[in-house]
Amino acid sequence: MNVLIYLDDNLISSISLRYICAQARFVPMSIRPFHVEVRGQRHYPFGVGWVRRTWENTVKETSREFIENFIKTEIHSCPGLLTAKIVVGDTETELLKEIKTGKYDLFVIGMLRSFGFYSFYDFLNGSLIKQIKLPILLVRNITHYKSVYFLIDRYTDVHAMLQNYFSLYKDLPYNIFFCHYAYNDQETNEFKNKLIKIKDCFKDFELDISKVIQLPTSVEESAHLLRTGDMVVASIEKNGAKTAITDILANIPNSCLIFWK
């Protein structure tokens, strides 16, 4: 798996780097740290032509030293960790450019859980997310649980979700649990009708899962239960629409692996 991870020299980058490196112990991956030095962020003059190129090279080198030192102090060994790629420019534009090279299977970015500002929805509605097709691993905290929770509702294409997951994480030796969210009895009944089909999917992927966990109707309670998973896997629409699934993802304190519908 080819992973692109966005890093700054801050707390959440420390968390996301440690988190992906823990997974790299089980899953063969090459991890490309990527950092964008924002123009004018540190004290460099603006310029044009060769002045600008020289300036950008200096900025890049300074940033490289910064980020490489950060990585060195954060983590002693991380299988598959490549040298950092540093560019100067606008964060979203440069990230998008890098993602669009098509070299990556997964984009990893950290986001501290926050109360009352920069929410999960701000993240979903950001222009970067709107433009990428790559699955995203959104890291929020370091956890060492040995299970992965698949968060599904009656609209989820379980087969596609499993296919996507195993294309990335077939070597991750964690237990998989399926957790179904239903807002009311009608949804629960509809899901029950789908259950036989879903169980067939489990067989297709040689999964030994006998039951699907029914989550409580309260989004907060569901999120609380899901916190004991090392990550929560979900498949959501890219239009940023609020659904019960996105609400749960907004409330969980642990990391989530997001596939796009």
Binding site: N10, L11, S14, I15, L112, R113, S114, F115, G116, F117, Y118, R140, N141, I142, T143, H144, Y145, H224, R227, P253
Partner: protein, 283 residues
């Protein structure tokens, strides 16, 4: 660990005794339980005062939590207070560890502050109940004491296990003692630990991030999972209100704490007096 427990005759004091007996089952702490004689009972024999009777009952409750012979205290057959000096009376249940019940005739707040200075406990525990409005004989003893003493204070509201201990981060000074206290409580309640950093205008200061990271690394080394979360200063108050409905709220309030600037004394008093959750003030 040394704990000073303040009690009166109200039901919330029963809660605090039950909570402290749970803590002591785990920690084998040295404990002093302190009560105060009511003004109109000051001339009666100490053992016939309502506080003495309540404290004897508390000691019985305390002893009943040790249902086998493995107990660090020695509970006396005769539950009788004897005079220490003209204003203080003692009933000792000390064994391998100290368990002293002390009754004082003095004014509560000043006596408690003095006792803390003398004994230097790691924790002062006091009960408080919303329905009684935290009134100790018409004085707001818990909130006054909590602000005045130099040690950590646990204000117990009722006996329940919090699922999460939400620790609001003081960005300049986290004492080892306060972390150890949180660890003991998290072990007792099997609770999640959430460390909350405070942002200003949606930005985290470097020193807040650094302290959060130090704590994260401390717990990573201990192999204990914690949750990190950020709250903006502007909505800290509503965050605390929400948390104080079900979780245990822990606030760092040392001399160097900036939380004292973020959270007014009135807010702390409100958390102590009017919310259902147990509050831990860390120093």
């Amino acid at each position: 660990m040394k704990i000073l427990v303040i009690v009166d005759e109200n039901p919330y004091s029963m809660y605090v005794i039950k909570e402290i007996s749970r803590i002591s089952l785990n920690t084998w702490s040295d404990i002093t339980i302190m009560g105060f004689i009511d003004e109109n009972e000051k001339h009666r024999d100490v053992n016939s005062t309502s506080i003495a009777q309540a404290m004897v009952e508390y000691l019985q409750i305390f002893s009943s939590s040790y249902n086998d012979s493995f107990c660090p205290y020695t509970f006396p057959k005769e539950m009788h207070f004897s005079s220490l000096d003209k204003n203080h009376f003692l009933l000792s249940a000390s064994g391998k560890k100290k368990l002293n019940l002390v009754i004082s005739k003095n004014e509560p707040v000043a006596s408690i502050v003095n006792k803390v200075q003398q004994e230097r406990p790691s924790l002062l525990a006091i009960g408080c109940d919303k329905s009684y409005n935290c009134q100790w004989k018409n004085k707001k003893v818990p909130s006054t004491v909590a602000q005045k003493v130099s040690c950590s204070v646990l204000v117990v509201k009722e006996t329940k296990n919090p699922e999460t201990i939400v620790c609001c981060l003081d960005n300049n000074h986290i004492t080892q003692t306060s972390l150890e206290l949180i660890n003991q409580l998290a072990t007792l309640y099997k609770a999640d630990l959430k460390i909350v950093g405070i942002a200003e205008n949606n930005l985290m200061r470097d020193r807040v991030e650094n302290t959060m990271k130090e704590i994260m690394l401390y717990y990573l080394n201990q192999d204990i999972p914690i949750w990190l979360e950020v709250v903006d200063k502007s909505i800290l108050s509503s965050f605390l209100n929400q948390v104080a409905q079900k979780d245990m709220v822990a606030l760092w309030l040392g001399k160097q704490s900036f939380l004292e600037k973020f959270i007014s004394k009135e807010k702390i008093n409100h958390l102590i007096n009017d919310t259902p959750s147990t509050v831990l003030l860390l120093r």
